[in-house]
């Protein structure tokens, strides 16, 4: 059975709103004909305009509006078509969402599920492709998750909505058209928060990724396996809370770590936190220097030509796999797809 990421988002949003009669869903463009990149079409028809509605361009107030609603039992699912727009809502996120329960002595819960879409490609440029996961991760009182495979969507979205805290659901745009073959009998993992998932097991090296970077690594599986690289591949899914113990169990075994994070910069990154935490558990856990592959320390340029080498790709991954394992990787480089589109079907404009 084939499942499509965007359809999983839609199906799950519908089931959440069916199960929770007081759930609401709003954000700029939610009732658009294209329905947030195909993830939520026709929801207004199903649930009515009191529960599903489009909104003015007021990200700050809207976040507070959603949080206020949750105080009286209408917990919202909110969405931003670009995480960059969500910056305007930082006061509500950090001073209210993350702290309300605490500053009133733990007598009242306030929370929302917020989908934040990360952009990439087609000249998104400096302010349409950012991922602020590191900024969020430093604030106590917020949870951060990032689905990768379509099969993570349903259980993760449901678990995130049930959570007592505000959960930021970091959804990479290039995942929307990803398809996955699953057996009908597949039992979905019900617990992703404070957990990790091992997508592959091996002994030579540990690869850690999340979100789109997990798909990037998945695309390299064939080549890695053909070249006899035996690897643990950890898909974080839960950025915060971070299950460092499970990551440690893998790195303890392999001694070698590559973290691929194509959505953010290195300084104060999630990858840095992982390496720092592992070192604190056991400074000798690494037999070779750990590697973080991220985007460089400058904003994302817009031009097609300037973004060619901006994101880390297969070549970079293999270079470091070789460096750490000393196992040569030979493969046929494919040159069919332009680097700035998620798949052949994408033709723009945004």
């Amino acid at each position: 059975m084939k499942i499509l990421f965007s359809k999983e988002v839609e199906k799950t949003t519908i089931s959440i709103m069916k199960k929770n009669k007081s759930a609401t869903y709003f954000g700029l463009g939610v009732t658009d004909p294209k329905g947030i990149f195909g993830t939520t079409i026709n929801l207004k028809k199903k649930f009515g305009q009191d529960r599903v509605f489009d909104v003015p361009a007021s990200e700050n107030a809207l976040t507070g509006f959603g949080l206020g609603m949750s105080l009286n039992g209408n917990k919202p699912i909110m969405v931003h078509q670009r995480m960059d727009f969500f910056l305007l809502a930082f006061d509500q996120l950090i001073n209210n969402a993350a702290k309300w329960k605490f500053m009133f002595g733990y007598q009242k819960k306030m929370s929302a599920l917020i989908r934040l879409i990360v952009g990439k490609g087609w000249g998104q440029g400096p302010t349409h492709s950012q991922n602020f996961q590191s900024l969020f991760a430093n604030i106590p009182g917020i949870k951060i998750v990032a689905p990768s495979l379509p099969s993570t969507v349903k259980p993760l979205l449901e678990e995130s909505y049930k959570d007592d805290e505000t959960v930021l659901f970091i959804e990479h745009r290039w995942l929307h058209n990803v398809q996955e073959n699953i057996s009908r009998k597949k039992k979905f993992n019900k617990n992703y928060i404070n957990n990790v998932q091992f997508l592959n097991k091996g002994v030579d090296i540990t690869l850690v990724s999340w979100s789109i970077s997990t798909i990037d690594i998945l695309k390299s599986y064939n080549i890695l396996k053909e070249n006899n690289i035996s690897f643990d591949h950890i898909d974080l899914v839960s950025i915060k809370p971070l299950n460092i113990k499970k990551i440690y169990s893998s790195v303890k075994k392999t001694g070698k770590l590559i973290i691929l994070d194509n959505t953010s910069h290195e300084f104060c990154s999630i990858g840095s936190e992982i390496i720092s935490s592992l070192t604190k558990i056991d400074p000798k856990v690494f037999s070779k220097k750990p590697v973080i592959l991220t985007i460089p320390d400058y904003p994302t340029p817009t031009s097609y030509y300037l973004t060619k080498s901006y994101y880390k790709d297969q070549k970079d991954l293999f270079k470091y796999v070789y460096k750490l394992t000393q196992k040569k990787i030979s493969y046929q480089r494919k040159f069919d797809e332009p680097h700035d589109i998620p798949d052949k079907l994408f033709k723009g404009p945004f």
Binding site: S22, R51, G68, L71, D91, M103, F104, Q107
Partner: protein, 321 residues
């Protein structure tokens, strides 16, 4: 318009209670046992007392950093407020929030916050939920004159009007944002309630220096159930400094005429005199009321002083909830 005798007595009792509590806080503060910022409402008792008397008991309230008057006017627990300021575990927020984070869910006072205008959209969202759930109650969102300068104020009002929500925005205009006069922050010719009107909300203006006119006016406009938001601006004056227990008029950031006017036109005293003059309350009953009030207040302070704070163990247990 005829005002019920009981209503106006309650109005006065509420305002006097706030005054006495606030003055007691100011007096005790120098003992350095209330170790958090306090933004007192001495002089600003009238707006909150008036509106509270017009609201239903089950109506909701949300406020900002100068919330003592709002909290007390809704009948919220005095003991818990004082304990909170003393940082004790019997405080309304167990000591985690202090003076700026008051809450009393039994009285539907859903919170007060410390970042200017941060609670406004929360109140608007709450109202949306009330409407969605067909709850007949409304919410009163207290704000100050500087609150209207934040972008989120405009955004929130826009949403409130758009969605036709049961909200009363109560703007206490005391003319200052810490030391900065209103004329240095907003265009002189523009009135706050007129600006709100421009956003699309029905707006009213009152001056608390005439507490009777204010009360009668509010009684007329505040209905039991409202189906669209209202904005009420009330001119008021704080006698003490922005934050803290002292009078700071010697700093000279307020004009002599302005200070003098309010010193000679204390709305609370005016209200008291009106009640006595019109034989609504006798001089004696006012005195008895004040004496009993002070006993209650002193009791609350003694309790707060003797109560314990959360232990480290208790706090950790709370954190893991």
């Amino acid at each position: 318009m005829n005002i019920k005798k009981n209503d106006i007595i309650n109005y006065y009792f509420t305002a006097q209670k706030i005054r006495n509590v606030e003055l007691k806080i100011a007096k005790e503060y120098q003992k350095q046992k209330m170790r958090c910022p306090i933004h007192l409402s001495v002089g600003q008792e009238i707006p909150a007392s008036a509106i509270s008397n017009c609201l239903n008991k089950r109506d909701f309230t949300i406020s900002y950093h100068r919330a003592h008057a709002h909290y007390l006017s809704r009948g919220c627990s005095l003991e818990k407020m004082i304990s909170e300021i003393y940082g004790k575990k019997t405080g309304c927020s167990k000591g985690l929030g202090g003076s700026m984070h008051l809450i009393d869910l039994k009285k539907n006072f859903i919170g007060s916050t410390a970042i200017v205008s941060s609670s406004i959209p929360v109140g608007v969202g709450f109202a949306y939920s009330l409407k969605l759930k067909k709850n007949k109650n409304k919410i009163c969102i207290f704000i100050g004159d500087a609150s209207v300068e934040e972008g989120v104020f405009f955004e929130s009002l826009n949403l409130a009007v758009l969605k036709k929500l049961p909200i009363i925005f109560l703007c206490e205009n005391n003319g200052y944002s810490v030391y900065t006069n209103l004329i240095n922050r907003q265009p002189k010719k523009r009135k706050i309630y007129k600006m709100a009107e421009g956003i699309g909300i029905k707006s009213y203006y009152f001056d608390s220096s005439d507490p009777i006119k204010l009360f009668k006016g509010l009684k007329k406009i505040i209905k039991n159930k409202i189906s669209e938001p209202l904005f009420v601006e009330i001119k008021t004056h704080r006698y003490l400094e922005h934050c803290g227990p002292n009078i700071d008029d010697h700093l000279g950031y307020r004009k002599y005429q302005e200070i003098n006017f309010w010193n000679n036109n204390d709305p609370l005293i005016k209200l008291e005199q009106y009640l006595i003059k019109n034989n609504i309350l006798s001089q004696n009953s006012v005195k008895t009321f004040k004496d009993n009030l002070d006993i209650k207040i002193n009791k609350a302070f003694l309790k707060a002083q003797n109560d314990k704070a959360l232990t480290v163990k208790e706090f950790n247990k709370l954190l893991n909830k």
